[in-house]
């Protein structure tokens, strides 16, 4: 963590395929936001968006890093992964669309609701992706 008077920065690594650790970063981020006394409604929406994005790295990519910046105006969560990328982002955003493996579906993932959940809960969502390289999601939550 780095800290100056205006912003705080945190980073977390996410391992593709490691479901036992899925949600760890989101849980740490939730703790930090609670300590900072962020509005409970904003924390709840941030947690949903962050968890879904974190699990997507675990379920669909090889590895990733989560960069969190908290300023006086907003929280920005950037998830940068190395993985297969998303060939058609509009299609991936549709509720019910999923390429999750049968093993992952058996665990209860793969409903194709993660990206729609992120969209619903984030104040701002930007996705960029390159096939066979990786995906970057930027989730922004505004305090006002």
């Amino acid at each position: 963590m780095s800290h100056d008077s205006h912003t705080m920065h945190f980073e977390y690594n996410v391992e593709g395929g490691n479901f036992t650790r899925a949600g760890y970063a989101s849980s740490e981020i939730k703790k930090i936001l609670k300590q900072l006394n962020v509005d409970m409604g904003i924390i709840k929406r941030t947690v949903v968006a962050c968890y879904e994005a974190e699990v997507n790295v675990v379920a669909h990519a090889f590895s990733g890093t989560i960069y969190v910046d908290v300023s006086t105006e907003s929280i920005t969560i950037r998830l940068v992964d190395e993985g297969p990328g998303i060939p058609d982002i509009d299609l991936a955003m549709q509720e019910g669309y999923s390429t999750a493996s049968s093993k992952v579906r058996e665990m209860g993932f793969g409903a194709g609701m993660g990206l729609p959940n992120i969209k619903k809960n984030a104040d701002k969502l930007e996705i960029s992706s390159e096939v066979n390289k990786g995906t970057t999601l930027e989730i922004t939550m505004f305090f006002n």
Binding site: V55, M107, M113
Partner: protein, 110 residues
């Protein structure tokens, strides 16, 4: 109603998270799809599911759920139970299937 009272009235087993038995329950949510629960469950609800792995606890904790009920004699995996103890979110169990236990919980909470 508290988790303990629900467990007693419905004859539920308590597998883990005993320290959370006094959590207040505001309602219930029934789903085996994790992102459905993530998107639609509310804090304070009891979650009825057949999923037993650790991600269930991650969700329960992130969503501040009151407890989990495992249906059809499913039991929590060991690391799931350990996290339940740590988070103090009880994991309960029943031999009933989802339909029956959901109906009973609904009757109790309505």
């Amino acid at each position: 109603m508290r988790v303990a009272e629900i467990a007693e009235k419905l004859g539920l087993k308590v597998y883990s998270g005993m320290n959370g038995l006094n959590r207040e329950v505001t309602g219930g949510y029934v789903s085996d799809l994790l992102s459905d629960v993530m998107g639609n469950a509310d804090a304070g609800e009891i979650w009825i599911t057949l999923q037993t792995h650790k991600n269930v606890m991650a969700i329960a904790s992130l969503k501040d759920l009151a407890a989990i009920i495992l249906v059809s004699d499913n039991t929590p995996e060991q690391d799931t139970a350990i996290q339940s103890n740590g988070e103090e979110i009880p994991i309960l169990g029943t031999s009933l299937a989802t339909f029956e236990i959901s109906g009973k919980l609904y009757e109790l909470l309505k």
